[in-house]
Symmetry: C2
Subunit: 218 residues, 2 copies
């Protein structure tokens, strides 16, 4: 697939590198085509990796990943262009963390709304799927590094076909089907995004450990 | 210990019965001393169990558990009386679920505040500890029924001694010390309460299964 990764942070770089490794063509999008971090990433990954503006990346893509910071996501997607998102699967992996009052951050969208729903409202023709925002980038692309992959990842969205595309991508990342939870419509993103404050506390308690959650059922 | 359980729902009844079983004296508090559910509970549990008003229960207690619905918690604690809570460990196991817009509910306090913090502000001399709100009542008092107890419970609060009291109680319930997470100050309750929307989605996906989360770390 031709995939756009919007965002040049750790999440974007890690997802982009993994996707190229799986044989996809990835264009990393940023505000400026000469973003040094994106240029360096494309050069270090090599064949199959490129970079450009948000619009360059989205225009060429069949699938778009929003890996921008939550508070900057709508601006990045607007720059990418509604026409370039129309009809495409748009995977939102972002968290709308608000650090204006210090650490740990609160959420800038919460409770009766979510970032993913805000994105869907702004780009009604995109097929938004929330996923992967509940863990660190290194766990996203390599679930087997923790407990042999015996932990959970979630998808939420209003378009079943789009969720199926994302689920296949997650399986390519190494997620076992029984650990990929379809939580229903995009409004389930509220729960996925509201998990972050507890995630942050667990992170603070564990130093810099890599972790995720497993659902234990009877 | 003499313990007050405020609330006559499943959580209050389950906690109360377990505590009596452990040898504590429990008074279940409700608005009216003749609350039929509380009378029936005290009678069915027998020796060590009693019931009365919120104030009756709190006055006699060394430790108070708020097991009322989140939206009704402050009113119940006000009826219990600030003097009857002063200096006492007050375990808040409630969730401020707002079902006014249907199911699944949202939260009536969230993000930059929490029910536990609101309780602490209202009753500054109580030693509030948030715990156990992240799971069903049957798991609270019998962690071993799931995966041999290999899953997590959390405590948050500003008073270390109060948290130690609650931690010992959790161990008496069967929680292994390594699964009792001290997440820090009472503001960590935000994350514990904001876990509920994801919990509800997991619940909806699993039918009526009993479940909890385990933290998987490297």
């Amino acid at each position: 697939m031709r995939i756009a990764v919007l965002g040049t942070g750790t999440v974007g770089k890690t997802l982009g590198r993994k996707l190229v490794g799986l044989g996809h063509h990835v264009v990393m999008g940023s505000r400026r085509a000469d973003n040094p971090s994106a240029v360096e990433w494309a050069s270090s990954v090599g064949e199959g990796a490129a970079n450009g503006t948000f619009a360059d990346a989205a225009a060429a893509a069949e699938l778009v990943i929003n890996a921008r910071a939550g508070g900057a996501s709508l601006a990045a997607l607007t720059a990418a262009g509604a026409d370039n998102l129309s009809g495409k699967v748009l995977v939102d992996v972002a968290n709308a963390l608000d650090s204006s009052a210090g650490f740990p951050p609160s959420l800038s969208v919460v409770n009766t709304d979510s970032l993913a729903e805000a994105i869907q409202r702004e780009f009604p023709l995109a097929r938004v799927v929330k996923s992967l925002n509940t863990m660190r980038a290194d766990v996203m692309v390599d679930p087997g590094r923790l407990a042999g992959g015996d932990h959970e990842v979630f998808v939420a969205g209003n378009d079943s076909d789009a969720k199926a595309v994302v689920s296949r991508l997650l399986q390519d990342f190494g997620w076992q089907p029984e650990h990929i939870w379809d939580l229903g419509g995009l409004d389930a993103s509220r729960g996925l995004e509201m998990w972050l404050p507890l995630w942050l506390r667990l992170y603070m308690q564990q130093g810099d450990k890599i972790f995720n959650i497993k659902v234990v059922s009877d």
